[in-house]
């Protein structure tokens, strides 16, 4: 029973190895980059524009809007990181309709790498927004006693991110694999469709959690506005 595409190794030289996770990731990167390049090559500012450009504009503006709604006032700054997170996870799960493809997000290494990236990005964005002192002070709020708990929270949420995504993606692929052996015809197709939905939901969850973490880290904690007096 194979749980992760990491286990398919095409080439290995000591520590270095070329497994299916990396290869599929490269494929996805190529797909995203070439697709984006092809579409944005013929961008126009006129009222009439291609449907591909419309699609990309919708996706980008939706992501930016989501980031803003979560509480980050300048979404352009975070769009590169958070948007790519979403797109990578979403496209990785969308491509599961291709036979023979295994999503790189079904590998705990990939999800761990993504979660680690989030774990590093959160303090980076927090420091760039508030400064080092202010950011570090947020760990001892409301009291000094909370410091270990805050640190544990950082680590545990990173772990949760990685495992949640891995579990969902891996389970989806695995369920399909199991079902193929039991009911080879119709049922796996339904499950694949369900898997697409799950994949999109997971992508959204991963993206929105990362956004929330960053928003929490970058928000300057000023005095709360007093509630309006009730008459």
């Amino acid at each position: 029973m194979r749980l992760s595409p990491d286990e398919i190794v095409f080439w290995q030289a000591g520590f270095f190895k070329l497994n299916a996770t990396i290869v599929f990731t490269w494929s996805l990167m190529l797909l995203l980059a070439v697709g984006a390049k092809l579409i944005t090559r013929k961008l126009t500012t006129a009222h009439e524009r291609s449907r591909w450009q419309n699609l990309l504009e919708i996706i980008v503006t939706l992501i930016a809007k989501q980031i803003e709604e979560v509480g980050l006032p300048h979404p352009q700054k975070y769009l590169g990181f958070l948007g790519t997170l979403f797109l990578f996870v979403a496209v990785a799960s969308l491509c599961t309709v291709i036979p023979g493809y295994e999503p790189p997000t079904g590998s705990l290494s990939t999800t761990a790498a993504l979660a680690l990236c989030v774990m590093v990005a959160v303090p980076l964005f927090g420091i760039s927004e508030q400064g080092v002192g202010k950011y570090l002070k947020s760990y001892i709020r409301p009291t000094f006693i909370m410091l270990p708990f805050n640190v544990i929270s950082e680590l545990s949420r990173t772990l949760a991110l990685a495992v949640r995504l891995f579990g969902n993606m891996m389970s989806g692929a695995m369920i399909i694999g199991i079902l193929l052996t039991i009911t080879p015809f119709v049922f796996p197709v339904v499950m694949t469709a369900l898997g697409l939905l799950t994949g999109m939901v997971q992508a959204y969850i991963f993206f929105i959690l990362a956004t929330v973490y960053i928003a929490a880290a970058t928000r300057t904690r000023g005095p709360r506005p007093e509630p309006a007096p009730t008459t």
């Binding site: 995203l32 980059a33 993504l114």
Partner: protein, 261 residues
Amino acid sequence: MLIDWFTVGAQALNFLILVWLMKRFLYKPILNAIDAREKRIARQLADAKAKQAEAEKQRDTFQQKNDEFDQQHAARLRQATEEANAERERLLDEARKAAEAWSARRQESLASDARNLNQAITRRAQEEVFAIARKALTDLATTSLEERMSVVFTRRLRELSGEAKSVLARALETAAEPARVRSAFDLPTEQRAAIQNALNETCSAEVRVRFETAPDLVSGIELTSNGQKVAWSIADYLASLEQGVGDLLKAQARPEAKAQS
């Protein structure tokens, strides 16, 4: 072990590369395009707003000009109407005055014509009257009448008195030529002698007399000497009558002319 740390590192690197690629090929161009379009739309909206404001301004200006033009038009029309009315009044006035002048002149001319005609008729009547009288008396004049006249003449000579008598006597005495006695017909000798006697008595001297015949006397006898004259003739009466009638007509014509003017 589910986690392969090399793969983790590789995937993290891959992800960072993907972030860069996406920024480079997706987000930046798309955001730039959206920004450019939004700016263009904003510019177009601003242009449209400016054009609308300009159009409204022009419309207001045009409306104002239109109003002004209407007012000017109405004012000019009113002024022209007033001027035309005034001109009409003036022309009517002039025409009335001209007509009145013409009428007055015509009346005057009519009155003048009437007056002239009146005068001509009067003069003609007068002339005719006197011509008829003269003709009648001339026709009636005979020798017996002449006799009566010479009797009357001699009586008058004798009846001369005072100043008139002395003046005549002096004139007769101082005259170089003989006194002239004119009559319409030849006087018979007796009558000539009677006149000579009467003159001699009047002047108490011998008076030289020359007798002449003058038909224009109509009927009568006339003595002239050195500017003095003693006469009795119908022509004299007629002349004095004519003089009196002429004076009367002139006096009548003058008040008429005054009344007409």
